[in-house]
């Protein structure tokens, strides 16, 4: 008989980064080398993990670091409920748990040689940051890479240092925007909702792939824009985060219609999304 699938790896918090007053990034290192090796044998970008603070519980979050950085796992989360509060209250050198990786991945092997546009809103940058670093770590294999990132207010930006680093690199085009009214006097980026900014800044007749992640409403409005820009429905990807408990298709709560987000997703194409019942999203 196999072991307890709910047994999690023990992770040491190697570093903590405050992204915003209520959002943190934890860098986690495996206490056990065999567990690390097993994790990275399975991990492809887009998969998610169940991060745990024993005593509080586990929650499903994306894996914000790419498989190309295989010494650690990072997660970025907003302090919202019981588990994220417990995770947020832990500091470097303390420990948490991790199960996974679970779910499917962005098919980036199929993206080789193609242009990639990443569209992120708010916390939705976390999974796309993982994608972006994965592409940048294998930069030569891909075409032009662009990131359009929007937040409600300038204070909500996550990964600020990395945004600056990407902007400086020259091999990825970074556009940031804030919702109208969210700008400060120092704001140098765009002002406007993400879909509108994408429509304004991305040239038409796109032949590449696009990945969108953010609030559902942003995804909803970004999809027609991307379609108008020429992206095919099978080339537009998004990653969904429904409420999950088990992560492996047993607990039954992440369904959208007959789709299990934890097993069939979390990565879906617009083509797949269109087949899902809108009333269940």
């Amino acid at each position: 008989m196999s072991g307890n699938l709910y047994e999690a790896s023990v992770m040491r918090i190697a570093a903590v980064r405050e992204e915003t007053p209520d959002t943190r990034t934890l860098r986690l290192e495996f206490a056990d080398e065999a567990a690390r090796a097993a994790f990275f044998r399975a991990y492809r970008v887009g998969m998610f993990g169940l991060y745990g603070a024993p005593g509080a519980g586990e929650c499903a979050l994306c894996i914000a670091s790419p498989p190309t950085r295989d010494r650690y796992v990072e997660c970025t989360f907003r302090r919202t409920g019981r588990v994220t509060a417990a995770l947020a209250d832990r500091e470097a050198e303390q420990r948490v748990t991790l199960r996974g990786p679970y779910g499917n991945a962005f098919p980036i092997e199929d993206w080789r040689g193609r242009d990639v546009l990443l569209v992120a809103g708010g916390m939705g940058l976390a999974p796309l940051r993982s994608v972006l670093w994965n592409l940048l770590d294998r930069r030569k294999e891909f075409g032009a890479i662009a990131l359009a990132y929007g937040v409600r207010t300038a204070a909500d930006l996550v990964y600020k240092d990395e945004l600056a680093e990407w902007a400086k690199r020259g091999d990825v085009k970074v556009t940031t925007t804030v919702d109208p009214g969210g700008e400060t006097s120092e704001w140098r980026g765009k002002v406007g909702l993400v879909p509108a900014v994408v429509e304004e800044t991305v040239p038409p007749n796109q032949k590449g792939v696009a990945a969108v992640c953010g609030p559902l409403v942003m995804i909803k409005f970004a999809m027609p824009v991307l379609t108008r820009l020429g992206f095919a429905a099978k080339d537009i990807f998004t990653t969904l985060e429904n409420r999950m408990k088990c992560g492996v298709g047993h607990c039954g709560r992440c369904n959208i219609g007959g789709v299990y987000v934890c097993r069939d997703g979390p990565v879906f194409t617009l083509e797949q999304l269109r087949k899902m019942p809108a009333g269940d999203l």
Partner: protein
Amino acid sequence: MKIVDVDKLSDLAAALAAKGYRIVAPVRDGDVVRLKQWKRGDEIDLDAFTVNSVKDFLMPASEVIGRYALDGDDFAPEAVAAEAPKTVVLGVRPCDAAALAVLDAVFNWDYADAFYNARRAATTIAALACRQADEQCFCTSVGGAPDSTAGADAILRPADGGKRFIVETLSEKGEALVAAAGEVVQEGEAAADAVAEVPVRFDAAALAARLAENFESPLWQTLSLACLGCGACAYACPTCHCFDIQDEGTRRESVRLRNWDSCGFGLFTQHAGGHNPRPDQAARWRQRVMHKFLYFAERFGRLACSGCGRCARLCPAHVSMAESCAALMAARKAAKR
């Protein structure tokens, strides 16, 4: 053939208990009859419908799946093993036995659940063919039958006007059970009684097709109006397997618990950010029906309903799955005309 007298049921239980089986059987408990651990002196009641199903003994309402010693923010994981005593469940209705295939499929869907599997392996299902059905029974609408042997290791068939049972073994576990029963089960002759007649309420295959094209139907509002949003149906259901995972304990120790959960509850799908994909009872009832008759079938090739009718029998608002299904079928006919 092997037979056992109806007044020897307690002897049968005692004989099996003596051979190390934990006995689970339908026992009267106040106003209800429930499957519970049998102890000497309990009278086994095979006539009534139990309020709970055999699920309770394979996927209990709450079970420990993790354990941690706590020290401030730090912790030390402790090993947890499933409690899986050798068990026989006596008098499992064919609908409940058939439902086990659903749980087997879910708990082994690529990831094997050690807790469920350990108990499943340790459990022998001694089914009981139905002589009687009530107005909530609809096993025949979902591919079952009141004398189906699906999922059973042995089956008791009422015989000689209810005076005895013909015992039929269906698996090695069943044979081991009969061997353990010793002299209580004897060679003899008996005439099997007529099985219950359960009318077909709807055509499940046609229903699936109907569901596939009616996600947006206004009928969901109508059908769910009476639903009060509790978990009575899901918890009584032999196939419902959705669960929650919660940590609880003291400052020194925490257990991770798997607790039953239900798609009928508003919180079931509530996102941390506030969005709820299923904001009303209509969406939740639709999920329940769709999952049982469409989604599960698409995924696992079988229905996630065995027609036991407990949901309707126990619903505080008298919402009936069979009635909903029949209404969905009737609406199609009306639309065609």
